[in-house]
């Protein structure tokens, strides 16, 4: 590595110097610039999202039209079906939501928004992406080994996941688990960087409450991730040993307990929901403040409710296990903690809604995405209450109602949140404006079909349809024509939604080639990333022009000023 030596002379700047380093493609692959690493994460995540979407297309076709030869795949066998749903879930959470919302936006935004020239540990940052990339390769490999990809659902409950004689995918399940473990390593390294950078590298004058909320949210999410992932890694090692060394941690015949895994998994798995939710809310808040030209209604309230949500999320995990065979008295405790979490989340959403009051709202493409996040996430939020209430969960557990519920949370988070942030910061990332007309066509073409996919699935779930069933023809009550009409509606809506994604990629490529020049601050926003060139140079600002902060990031519509915005770095 040529840049290792050079770095020693640059103790004034955290970033590695690349001016003397290798050139061309190698420069991008081995870059330690936080912006390039962010783009690596962004486009790897989007590519994985396309793969996850393709999987959804294949199994939705099988569910709506059982037994057909799916164009672009062929006939789906039960084993392939299980592998598809398992990897769809794993990819969308671990290889789309996490890399894009935390790693890509975290890497891109944190140094720029706090006025730093790079992350404090640039080479750990590079290592993080490289490990992440290996995890992608391992996951892809798991789909093509003998026996096929792992098919035990993304929750990977033993004994199905731990014994090859039960899951019939000896290599696939081990590779899947290895890929997930590598992905965790990558995010632990990234999380160290985010937290340390936010604590130590802020511009002079930037106090804790002057930090843009999206940076706080990504850092709180990283802390939650680091605190919750330990038990799961321990559990995953035991699962790996059960798979490969024939130990019996989860085998009741040898003194193990399959339910142990569920506790370890969900102790991580529930905070994980907030790990991806908080950055998405942070992105939405930035966009809503900018395009309603309003100060956030309660900056500290958002911050405190985010922390409260995070703390509470460690005490709710067993609501995933009400009917798993745990002590029934435990369900009462976890019902209470689960419903309490509705209080901070509802409050956070109230604050976001209240921010619109008195604004001057511009319905640009990023703002439409932000508003859609709110409108759709509310559905996910209220339907979650049905599942947190133990008595109702006896019926709803593992039905399509659950599936529709968490897609109403994860779709706004991972898809709407990503498009919201991407369209908002696109001018900063590439120095060009995106086409608004195409952006709005893509927006409506995504959000309307989304509802037509998942509202029918709520109805199917209430009708008693359970998840992960390959073919409903064996269940007379689920094989009726009205059930198939709903399934086909959902599948056709999915096809429409996928078709509209072409508009996005067209817009992306056309805007990159011949988009209008963006300038430093096209949205007239306040935070520091808008005070540098678009795209920002290596080091973000010229070394002698590092920004100094005089106020918070949401000073919109101040009565003493002619302009309705007031950049953070403008002296009073």
């Amino acid at each position: 590595m040529a840049d290792t030596v050079v770095d020693v002379h640059h103790d004034a700047h955290a970033h590695d110097d690349h001016h003397h380093g290798p050139s061309g493609i190698i420069k991008y692959l081995w870059s330690t610039d936080h912006k390039i690493i962010a783009m690596q994460y962004m486009f790897t995540g989007m590519a994985m999202g396309i793969l996850g979407g393709y999987m959804a297309y294949v199994f939705r076709m099988q569910l709506a039209f059982p037994g057909i030869s799916v164009p672009g795949f062929g006939q789906v066998s039960p084993g392939e079906y299980n592998a598809l749903i398992t990897n769809h879930g794993s990819i969308m959470i671990f290889w789309l939501a996490m890399p894009v919302l935390i790693a890509a936006f975290g890497n891109y935004l944190i140094p720029l928004m706090i006025g730093a020239d790079d992350m404090v540990f640039p080479r750990i940052n590079r290592l993080s992406f490289q490990i992440f990339f290996i995890s992608v390769l391992v996951l892809l490999a798991s789909l093509f080994v003998e026996g096929g990809g792992f098919g035990g659902a993304w929750t990977s409950y033993p004994p199905l996941s731990s014994e090859a004689e039960f899951n019939l995918t000896n290599l696939g399940s081990t590779l899947w688990l290895t890929a997930v473990a590598l992905e965790f390593v990558a995010f632990l390294l990234g999380g160290i960087n985010f937290i340390t950078t936010l604590m130590n590298a802020r511009a002079p004058g930037m106090k804790a409450y002057d930090i843009p909320l999206v940076c706080w949210m990504i850092v709180i999410a990283s802390i939650l991730f680091m605190l919750s992932v330990g038990p799961l890694i321990a559990g995953a090692v035991m699962l790996l040993f059960d798979q490969t060394l024939n130990t019996g941690f989860y085998d009741p015949a040898r003194g193990g307990d399959p339910i142990l895994w569920q506790h370890l998994f969900w102790f991580f798995g529930h905070p994980e929901v907030y790990v991806v939710l908080l950055p998405a809310i942070g992105i939405t808040i930035e966009v809503m403040a900018t395009f309603s030209r309003k100060k956030i209604f309660g900056y500290k309230m958002v911050l405190y409710t985010a922390v409260a949500t995070g703390v509470l999320s460690f005490f709710v995990w067993a609501h995933h296990q009400f009917i798993a065979g745990i002590d029934p008295r435990m369900a009462n405790v976890f019902t209470i903690t689960t419903l309490l979490i509705s209080v901070p989340i509802a409050e956070m959403l109230f604050v976001m809604i209240a921010t619109l009051y008195g604004g001057s709202i511009r319905l640009t493409t990023p703002m439409l995405w932000a508003l859609a996040f709110m409108a759709e996430f509310l559905i996910g939020g209220v339907t979650g209450i049905f599942l947190g209430a133990s008595g109702a969960d006896i019926y709803f557990h593992d039905t399509y109602f659950v599936l529709a519920h968490f897609h109403y949370t994860f779709f706004p988070i991972a898809i709407i949140g990503t498009f919201c942030g991407f369209t908002y910061w696109f001018p900063k990332m590439f120095g060009k404006m995106m086409n608004e007309t195409l952006g709005k066509i893509h927006f409506w073409g995504t959000v309307i079909p989304f509802n037509f996919i998942f509202i029918p699935l709520f109805v199917l779930g209430m009708g008693g349809q359970h998840r992960r069933i390959y073919n409903f023809q064996h269940f007379p009550e689920l094989a009726g024509p009205e059930m198939y009409n709903l399934r086909q509606t959902a599948t056709i809506a999915l096809l429409v939604m996928i078709a509209f994604q072409l508009v996005f990629f067209t817009n992306l490529i056309m805007s990159l080639i011949k988009g209008e020049k963006a300038g430093k601050n096209p949205w007239k926003a306040n935070s520091l990333e808008w005070t540098t060139e678009s795209p920002p140079p290596h080091g973000n600002w010229p070394p002698d022009q590092m920004p100094v902060v005089y106020r918070g990031p949401y000073e919109f519509g101040h009565p003493d000023r002619e302009e309705d915005y007031w950049p953070q770095d403008e002296p009073a």
């Binding site: 039960p78 065979g325 209080v343 109230f350 009051y357 593992d398 359970h466 409903f472």
Partner: protein
């Protein structure tokens, strides 16, 4: 909407709880979306009009958050009480049994052990069936749920009951059917490539039909 029969004594309790949840969360949902869209309309960009500078620190402004906050908490209390009541009735307390059955899941079939003519489980006249469970209407059944290999889940949507089967354990639960008929049993926990074919049927019979089934099944299986 798909109308699902309530075929157990507690099905109506669970449905009532779901209705309560629908009313409370529906209110919040409509209120929040209503205010949200009204604000978007009301404060749309108008030429020459600057946005207001609101800090949100004054009490009379803050109460727009604190009052809903308190109301959400009150709703949570109602939901918790309702949920715990239903949960206690279905899962935590066990009424006296009229009869006991054993349900065993394995890849990929359900085996049902009926107590037979003497109404005692684990005796010589027990009736074993695969896929078909026969029970009598208006009788309290205890079930002992077991698994031979991986996790399964015994789910009867018309009863609203669901319980995981865990290898190495015998989990006891109960149900009481309140109408006759023939309904689906699903496996609700992914259990391998045959998960989608792990179907069963529950036959709820009146006393005479059930007695007749017991004698015919006993005759068929006795040596």
């Amino acid at each position: 909407m798909i109308d699902l029969i309530q075929a157990s004594t507690y099905a109506a309790d669970i449905d009532n709880l779901i209705t309560l949840l629908a009313v409370l969360t529906g209110f919040w949902f409509l209120a929040a979306e209503g205010v949200f869209f009204w604000l978007i309309w009301k404060f749309r960009e108008k030429p020459g009009q600057k946005s207001q500078y609101l800090v949100g620190k004054e009490k009379h402004v803050k109460r727009w958050i604190t009052i809903p906050h308190a109301l959400v908490l009150v709703c949570d209390v109602f939901i918790i009480v309702g949920a715990v009541q239903v949960w206690y009735n279905v899962k935590q307390h066990l009424p006296e049994a009229d009869s006991t059955i054993r349900i065993t899941g394995q890849q990929w079939a359900w085996t049902f052990q009926h107590p037979g003519a003497d109404n005692e489980l684990d005796t010589a006249d027990d009736i074993f069936t695969v896929e078909d469970l026969h029970v009598e209407v208006d009788k309290v059944y205890h079930f002992k749920l077991e698994s031979r290999d991986v996790l399964h889940d015994f789910s009867v949507p018309v009863f609203r009951i669901k319980q995981d089967a865990v290898p190495g354990r015998s989990i006891t639960g109960w149900f009481e059917a309140n109408q006759t008929g023939e309904f689906d049993i699903q496996c609700a926990e992914i259990c391998g490539i045959g998960h989608g074919i792990m179907a069963g049927r529950i036959h709820i019979e009146d006393a005479n039909t059930h007695a007749a089934w017991i004698s015919s099944a006993s005759a068929a299986t006795s040596p």
